[in-house]
């Protein structure tokens, strides 16, 4: 009896769950069925990249070709394996993936390819040869930024290094390349190194720990994967003048970009520390448009066009010489050279500003912010 009632109750639960969402209709029979398998949605970069994929799918060039479904696997590679597999079973034509692990997905990707499904990985890469990879050269990113810092310091000084997530290829490659550069300059001393997890909040706690036994005057420069915005804010809090900010090689957060603008620039919505400070910076990032670009390439490939297997995106580098404020952030405006956005439009200083690509005229600032394509 009890068993029967249990079955009944669970069946009811199932029906209830079904009622929550409508089952997709197959009106879009001719559209390509494309899935996005994201890793984790709980951080700015991932959410932004997802918005840009959404915007790309909504653009008029693609809207009537693409039926896009977005799924989140969380930080767990096991679940992404299961998810990609379920997508293959669900009849995907192509799957756009933010790979949680470059290696763990190999066998499931191989299996997907064998069933004729295109796999496009963005930001990270999948080492299985049949996958299409779209990302920047992480070694180059580490090298260029480290060389910039060495040059700024004239080859000597004590620096702090804040890395990303330990054990992840991107972090290992960038940090290794940077350290190779520093090793070539005996005048450069890394006095403290900490794990920043690619988060402004963590960068602040780690810097606070380091500064518990040091002060800013004993340090000459910073190499951080994420956190220059925060480091500049902390220097101001400690009573430094904007003119005394130390050089920082780091990420492409919009807050950091605004800080790079010359002091006195008219910026709507700015308030210290999210304000022009003329901070000496080199700003780079893994660009969040790569997901949207991957979707575009997947459709091109499905349309029968040729797409190279490995696409290395140009490293988006901004320095004090090239920094330029956008007014609206349309693609056309960015093409003309602007690369920082008004705080009144982008209230979150941790938001990643490297959203411009020659190849994606479909998406601009609105794509990254709210998932709306350019007209």
């Amino acid at each position: 009896m009890r068993l029967v009632s249990k079955v009944a109750s669970i069946a009811m639960i199932a029906i209830f769950a079904l009622g929550l969402t409508s089952i997709p209709t197959d009106a879009a029979a001719k559209k390509y069925k494309i899935f996005l398998s994201m890793s984790f949605i709980g951080n700015d970069w991932q959410a932004e990249a997802a918005n840009m994929v959404k915007a790309m799918a909504l653009h008029k060039n693609l809207a009537d070709k693409v039926d896009l479904q977005i799924q989140v696997a969380g930080p767990n590679a096991q679940r992404q394996i299961q998810q990609i597999n379920a997508m293959v079973q669900a009849g995907a034509d192509a799957i756009v993936v933010y790979p949680i692990s470059p290696t763990a997905l190999n066998s499931v990707v191989k299996n997907a390819c064998a069933r004729g499904v295109l796999i496009f990985a963005y930001d990270g890469s999948i080492s299985e040869p049949c996958a299409y990879n779209i990302s920047i050269d992480q070694l180059e990113a580490g090298r260029v930024t480290a060389e910039w810092l060495v040059k700024k310091l004239d080859g000597k000084g004590d620096i702090i290094v804040i890395t990303g997530v330990p054990g992840v290829s991107v972090d290992t490659l960038r940090t290794k390349a940077a350290k190779d550069v520093f090793a070539k300059h005996p005048g450069i001393n890394i006095v403290a190194e900490s794990v920043g997890m690619w988060s402004q909040a963590v960068a602040r706690t780690e810097l606070s720990k380091i500064l518990a036994t040091r002060n800013w005057d004993s340090i000459d420069g910073l190499w951080m994967q994420v956190g220059c915005y925060t480091a500049n804010a902390m220097q101001l809090e400690s009573g430094k003048k904007p003119a005394d900010l130390m050089p920082c090689a780091g990420e492409g957060a919009n807050g950091g970009r605004i800080q790079m603008l010359p002091i006195g620039t008219e910026v709507e919505g700015a308030s210290s520390p999210y304000a022009p400070l003329n901070a000496p910076r080199i700003s780079y990032a893994s660009p969040p448009y790569s997901g949207g670009y991957a979707l575009k390439l997947a459709v091109a490939k499905l349309d029968g066009k040729d797409v190279p297997q490995e696409i290395v995106l140009p490293l988006p580098i901004v320095t004090n010489e090239t920094i330029q404020l956008c007014n609206e952030g349309t693609w056309a405006e960015m093409k003309a050279g602007c690369n920082a956005f008004l705080p009144s439009i982008v209230p979150n200083p941790g938001w990643f500003a490297s959203i411009f690509s020659e190849n994606t005229p479909e998406i601009g600032l609105n794509g990254a912010l709210v998932g709306q394509p350019e007209l």
Binding site: I41, A47, N51, Q78, A90, A192, S199, A201, T213
Partner: protein, 697 residues
């Protein structure tokens, strides 16, 4: 939670029918897991296009095997009354070792050999856990937490980024078919595991596991060698994690030093879904295997239902609760009990026989105390401070001693510590978050619960606050109370779920955490906006006269916390519940209300941390609370609290907070590689708690 078992035992007269019922009842967890699994499976089958082919079944079965194997290991630990946080890390280690040591040219590496190696590595890690837990009698949660850090460090030393090679022979064997087009190898593997478990269960060792999980003292009295059984449990569990590591290596064909770490929370969820009781003595491995598959099937369900990304974690949380709620559809479930209680309460109210309507008369026992013995000094001697607090001191002091040692080392290695106020100021500011969380999490742990919803309570509250104040101090006046109220509300919801639905704290708070994550994403649209007001930023970062204002808050909090837990009826109720819920209930404590209040306190503390973190960082970000979950548990236990509840002092926990923060500060100031730091961190925590070991009774 024990009450239903005892009631059944009492109710059982000598005839056939109830016996059968009891046997079914004993396997309720398993049956529910089975039913939930079957219905999810059918759900996926019905709504996915086309029938489910053998190929799909084969993939589904291998997809859940790693989690299932790990869950079996964890179940054995939990059955024995233990807790193992090192499971995910051990899986990563085995994967890294296997992938980095296989010869890339050898396409036919021996499957039995590498399986054996993997299992041995796992068992070795288990033996490390087992040694400290069984023979040094340390608390499982701290030991396995330390092991987790140490193992993660070793893994990164073995392999610093994904790569390596696993011979296809391993993949072909484990991912292949036992009988082509009929039976995948992974199902055979799990079948073997189930048979093995059924055998173990009936050996002396197996009965011993259940015995020490139910009552270690009775187990010892009946002559069981509790220490050796406990040791064996961790070794066996480690072996299963090792097997899971081998399987994931076969499945992925390569190595990734982080592959197992995120499995940890899912492993616990699988065990609880499978019907095992945290605290030990009830449940089994078969249920956990189904629990694991339920969790993996959720991925397919979300896909088939096309649930949008922002809602994914909400849907997952709801599915988790619904699956567990299956157990509330029986006559002796907690929910049914509560409904019966409520009914009789209403009836009593109507009849006017409620205790409070019966007229009050002071019926307290008169104990001989100081007030009664005026003039007779020799009857009661008030013991001295030291002997009155000997127990508390014994458990709270080690953290402080280690803290002082860490400061000395910091002074030696980095300088500017021992005599520098700046150092202490930074330390207290950095400690403030954990000090506040320790009050909430600590109180929850004192009642024998656990709050896993802390990360996204912090995240959501921070994001809401930043979104409302948008840099204005005036807005803080209404935003602050509102956010703190929301924190309390989250805690109340946790508490209600735990008390009235009878959901285990781990599952309830884990599900809440998922729901909160979804809400934070929906509210912020993926990018939280707004920033903290100048006042809040001043409170967390300014240094007028060298003192950051939050330092005073930490001092005030310490006083409030000590008074709250030590001097109020609420505090005494908390300790009473932790020492024995049934006894507390029979002593007239309103256990339900107290537990709800405890979780509300934890929610409030997390909300305060969300606010302070927003002030500290200047803005709120998604996932800003993620770093605080495990530390919030660790500091409580390092500070001398008992994870099963009933013992601990806030000052001890505060010592734990200072110890951990100063240790991390020391490590951050160096240039040691992360792997070495993780190992050092684990070793220091382990060393700090060796002094906390249980006395042999």
């Amino acid at each position: 939670m024990n009450s239903s078992a005892t009631e059944q035992a009492v109710k059982q007269p000598n005839n056939e029918f109830p016996k059968k019922r009891m046997r079914l009842g004993r396997h309720r967890g398993l049956i529910i897991a089975l039913v939930a699994f079957t219905s999810l499976f059918l759900l996926v089958d019905i709504i996915s296009p086309g029938p489910i082919s053998y190929f799909e079944i084969s993939f589904l079965s291998s997809g859940g095997t790693t989690l299932a194997l790990a869950a079996v290991g964890e179940t054995i630990v939990i059955l024995s009354g233990g807790f193992d946080l090192s499971a995910g890390a051990v899986i990563s280690l085995v994967n890294a070792v296997v992938a980095s040591n296989m010869d890339p040219t050898d396409m036919n590496a021996s499957v039995p050999l590498w399986t054996f190696i993997g299992i041995c590595i796992g068992a070795l890690a288990g033996a490390f856990n087992g040694f400290f837990i069984a023979f040094l009698r340390l608390q499982p949660i701290v030991v396995t937490l330390s092991t987790m850090f140490i193992v993660q460090g070793i893994t990164l030393l073995v392999m610093d980024k994904p790569g390596g090679f696993v011979s296809p022979s391993l993949g072909n064997f484990y991912m292949g078919d036992a009988i082509p087009e009929f039976l995948p190898m992974s199902i055979i593997l799990l079948g073997v595991v189930i048979l093995l478990w059924l055998w173990i269960k009936n050996t002396r060792f197996g009965i011993g596991i259940y015995a020490i999980g139910s009552d270690p003292e009775s187990a010892r009295s009946t002559g069981l060698r509790v220490d050796w059984i406990r040791f064996g449990v961790y070794v066996l569990a480690g072996a299963f994690y090792g097997m899971a590591g081998v399987f994931i290596s076969a499945q992925t064909g390569s190595g990734d030093p982080l592959v197992g770490n995120p499995l940890l929370l899912q492993i616990f969820a699988a065990v609880v879904l499978g019907g095992a009781r945290l605290g030990g003595g009830r449940g089994g491995c078969v249920g956990s295997i189904f629990g694991a598959y339920i969790l993996m099937m959720v991925v397919n369900v979300l896909l088939v239902l096309n649930i949008s990304a922002y809602f994914a974690t909400i849907a997952e949380g709801v599915i988790l609760i619904l699956a567990v709620l299956g157990s509330s559809v029986s006559r002796d479930s907690i929910l049914a009990q509560h409904i019966r209680d409520l009914r009789s309460r209403i009836a009593a109210f109507m009849a006017g026989t409620l205790p409070r309507k019966l007229g009050s008369k002071n019926t307290r026992l008169k104990l001989p105390g100081i007030t009664d013995t005026k003039g007779q000094n020799n009857t009661v001697v008030v013991p001295g401070f030291l002997s009155r607090h000997a127990e508390t001191l014994r458990y709270a002091l080690p953290a402080y001693i280690c803290f002082i040692l860490v400061i000395l080392v910091t002074q030696l290695v980095l300088g500017n510590a021992l005599f520098s106020w700046n150092y202490y100021n930074s330390l207290i500011v950095l400690s403030s978050f954990l000090a506040i969380l320790a009050l909430g999490q600590g109180t929850v742990i004192l009642t024998g619960g656990l709050d896993l919803s802390i990360p996204w309570t912090i995240g959501l509250c921070g994001i809401l606050l930043a979104g409302m104040v948008k840099g204005s101090d005036e807005a803080l006046i209404y935003a602050l109370p509102l956010v703190l109220f929301i924190g309390c509300l989250i805690g109340v919801i946790n508490g209600l779920g735990i008390v009235f639905l009878g959901i285990s704290p781990i599952v309830m708070t884990l599900a809440t955490n998922g729901v909160l994550q979804g809400l934070a994403l929906i509210y912020s649209g993926g990018t939280p906006d707004g920033f903290s007001s100048p006042m809040l930023r001043w409170f967390m970062t300014s240094k007028d006269y060298g003192v950051t204002p939050v330092v005073f808050l930490v001092a005030l909090l310490a006083v409030v916390a000590v008074l709250l837990l030590g001097r109020t009826p609420f505090g005494r109720r908390v300790y009473a519940i932790g020492n024995g819920q049934r006894v507390a209930e029979l002593s007239g404590i309103n256990v339900d209300v107290t537990i709800v209040l405890v979780y509300a306190l934890s929610g409030l503390c997390a909300a305060i941390v969300g606010v302070l973190l927003t002030g500290f960082s200047g803005q709120a970000s998604l996932g800003m609370g993620d770093e605080y979950l495990l530390p919030s548990i660790a500091v409580v236990v390092v500070g001398g609290a008992l994870i099963t509840g009933g013992r601990g002092h806030y000052l001890g926990m505060l010592g734990g907070v200072f110890l951990l923060t100063s240790l991390l500060t020391l490590l951050a100031g160096t240039t040691l590689p992360y792997a070495t730091r993780a190992i050092l961190f684990g070793l220091v925590v382990l060393g700090a708690v060796i002094a906390l070991r249980e006395r042999r009774t």
